[in-house]
């Protein structure tokens, strides 16, 4: 008797077909497809749907994607990281200054840059975990610190002439596309793909990743369940520091320069993309793959504007704002629906 009853409660949400928490991520995918299709209809004859254009969706924004993977993990844990833009800018600056002014080996410099990003991330994670400073404030500190450091290193923009770095930045392979214009994929895209794959695997298949979900779902429980919360939390921000630094490196590959004013406001683009990609800002729910589509939507908006020609770039900001509103409202509705179905469930019990 009891058994039957229990099983019944278990199947409650089934009737909706899919778990409600997948809705934001799925709608991001749907929205991307829709936007891409609309672009195809409007600008198809100008090559919107060409392989070349499609490839540039990735090549132009791979650095954002790398950062978005890290940010997704941060947000799933219930945190936020405002420092990503500054840390990335610091990376470009360090890379340029190290190779051009100090004349250090570029490989060594790459390692130093990535380690610096991780160290900054670890420091912020420590502020958050050990000293219980809210993520918002502690990453704000990181943001100020990294940005300020750029200008202490150098006020000027430094051009990168290091042969290895230039070679890496320029390296690309041609895609076997049938269209007239040749499509290329560069190193950034491969690195993005690697980071994304790593993100997916980490979040799905490792204790660390599952710990992040647990932490974002219910912090107190995660502690009581004996999860190594300190290691997880510091790990999250360290990983994101790594992603930010790597994003900076990719941006340097893209622009061949290091400059303190690079990437102002990048954190906004990244956070928006992650939210649009279906990650709940309250923590506990989200997928790196969703963020991929968040970034793609962002890229498509940029493409729209460049294809239209008459639209200014600030339309991007407005469009992102509107999309944010849409997705936040959608998340809100989802949460309400989940709650309602739960209440219903309780009543039926």
């Amino acid at each position: 008797m009891e058994r039957v009853k229990l099983r019944k409660t278990g199947g409650e949400k089934r009737k909706l077909g899919i778990d409600l928490k997948y809705i934001p991520a799925l709608s991001a995918i749907a929205l991307f497809l829709a936007a891409y299709a609309i672009g195809g209809i409007l600008y198809g004859e100008r090559g919107f749907l060409s392989m070349r254009t499609f490839a540039t969706l990735f090549t132009d924004n791979a650095y954002l994607g790398v950062s978005a993977v890290g940010m997704t993990i941060v947000i799933i844990s219930g945190g936020i990281d405002l420092s990503v833009g500054s840390v990335a800018a610091l990376s470009t600056m360090m890379l340029a200054y190290g190779t051009e002014v100090l004349r250090w080996n570029s490989v060594l410099m790459l390692i130093v840059v990535l380690l610096t990003g991780m160290a900054l991330g670890a420091f912020m994670g420590m502020l958050i975990d050990v000293f219980e400073v809210p993520p918002f404030i502690s990453t704000l500190i990181g943001m100020f610190f990294a940005r300020g450091l750029c200008f202490i290193i150098s006020i000027q923009s430094i051009t990168i002439n290091d042969p290895l770095l230039r070679a890496l930045g320029k390296w690309r392979i041609r895609l076997p596309a049938a269209s007239r214009a040749a499509a290329y994929v560069n190193l950034s895209v491969f690195i993005f793909a690697l980071v994304l794959a790593a993100g997916v695997v980490i979040m799905r298949c490792t204790k660390f990743g599952r710990g992040v979900y647990a932490f974002g779902g219910n912090r107190a429980s995660a502690v009581l369940m004996g999860l190594p919360t300190r290691r997880i939390q510091i790990g999250i921000y360290t990983f994101n520091g790594f992603c930010s630094a790597l994003a900076g490196v990719l941006f340097a590959f893209y622009t061949f320069s290091g400059y303190g004013r690079h990437l102002y406001g990048m954190e906004l683009d990244v956070i928006s993309s992650v939210v649009i990609g279906g990650t709940l800002l309250t923590g506990g729910v989200g997928y790196p793959i969703g963020s991929l589509f968040g970034i793609m939507i962002y890229s498509v908006i940029l493409k729209f504007i460049s294809f239209n020609g008459s639209l200014s770039s600030w339309w991007t900001k407005i469009a992102v704002g509107v999309l944010l509103l849409f997705f936040i409202a959608l998340q809100r509705v989802t949460v309400v629906l989940v709650k309602r179905s739960k209440r219903e469930l309780k009543r039926k019990n």
């Binding site: 918002f136 704000l140 610190f145 300020g148 770039s313 407005i318 936040i328």
Partner: protein, 358 residues
């Protein structure tokens, strides 16, 4: 308390008051400046205007100070307003484009009565704030997320209004707001003082402040007590929008230009910082307007002393970061617990443990 209750008690009370630590920090920074530059404290009168570093700090701190007034109220309800920097830019764009009225050339006239320009500008930003409040209070969206929308889109809209150009104006009355002088002092200082006074009166001589604190501490209990929480929340965001409008007018008048990209960039962060430096907790609850004013002065004095070193202005950020680290660490529960234990007060956990005891 140990010692005699008279002087020691008063001393303890002063030291432990929220304002003391921020005032002390301001004092230390000013002292540091005096060491760097002995002429730091000197104030001279030129043409009936007061000139000097102190006046300059006060004057430059005004936009962030005004933002921090609105931010303080928002934070007191447990929220955050990330959009105020963008709204500041939007205010500048609105005001100057209204003054220009679509004319393509720079002239010294206004296309619309000046009072109307100001009224419309303030109405626009207040409405934007109200929208933030609506999202937070009515739709239950997290404040950071809700205001993120205008933080992103606000500058876009500002650019939409200015046509993505740095619109300038030569209309003289407009310049008074940000550059004028009155009774020895720059006009912005008077405006800031006015905003502070009104804010103080509105929060402490009406029940608004109490309601804001009640909502920030325990929204549910506030509702059960008959407080219209959502109205209060919408009001604080609207006030924050209004403050952004005032700050935007001062800012754009100071440069006589609407710079949608850079006006008030990161000011929301400075305003949050000023509020936290002033002793208001990010968790909401008790708020300290005077503390936020002091906080904004700390930020400006700090920036000022960095400039004395002849480095890039942005390097100030590093020092700012270090100062914030120190302040948040002092305020952090980690050290509070330790301090508490030493002082022999009851332990935090114990209070909840014995909840319900006699």
């Amino acid at each position: 308390m140990r010692g005699n209750p008279g002087t020691a008690g008063v001393f303890d009370k002063i030291v432990s008051s929220k304002l003391f630590s921020s005032l002390a920090a301001l004092f230390v920074i000013l002292l540091f400046n005096v060491f760097l530059n002995p002429g730091f404290l000197s104030i001279t009168i030129v043409n009936g205007h007061l000139f000097g570093q102190l006046i300059d700090i006060l004057n430059r701190a005004v936009p962030v100070m005004i933002l921090s007034i609105g931010m303080t109220l928002v934070i007191a309800t447990g929220g955050t307003d990330l959009s105020c920097g963008a709204l500041l830019a939007l205010a500048g764009a609105t005001a100057i484009s209204l003054i220009r009225g679509g004319s393509a050339v720079l002239n010294s006239d206004t296309a619309m009565p000046f009072v109307l320009v100001i009224a419309i500008t303030l109405a626009v930003t207040t409405l934007c704030g109200l929208w933030n409040g609506f999202l937070v209070a009515k739709l239950g969206i997290q404040p950071i997320v809700a205001t993120l929308i205008f933080m992103t889109a606000g500058r876009g809209i500002a650019q939409l209004i200015t046509g993505a150009r740095n619109l300038t104006t030569g209309y003289a009355p407009f310049s008074v707001i940000g550059q004028g002088w009155f009774l020895l002092f720059p006009v912005p200082i008077f405006i800031a003082a006015g905003v502070c006074l009104v804010a103080w009166y509105f929060t402490r001589r009406t029940a608004f402040g109490l309601f804001v604190e009640a909502v920030g501490i325990n929204a549910s209990a506030a509702r059960y007590s008959g407080i219209n929480s959502s109205l209060i929340i919408m009001a604080v965001y609207a006030i924050s929008g209004f403050c952004a409008g005032v700050a935007g007018l001062i800012y754009s008048s100071g440069i006589m230009c609407a710079d949608a990209n850079n006006a008030g960039l990161n000011y929301e962060l400075d305003a949050i910082l000023a509020t936290v430096l002033g002793g208001t907790s990010m968790m909401g609850g008790r708020f300290y307007l005077a503390g936020s004013v002091i906080g904004s002065l700390i930020i400006m004095a700090l920036t000022k002393s960095i400039y004395a070193f002849d480095v890039a202005p942005e390097s100030a950020l590093v020092v700012k970061a270090l100062v914030v680290v120190i302040v948040v660490l002092i305020q952090s529960p980690f050290f509070k617990k330790r301090k508490f234990r030493k002082a022999g007060g009851p332990e935090l956990e114990l209070a909840s443990d014995r909840e319900g005891g006699r």
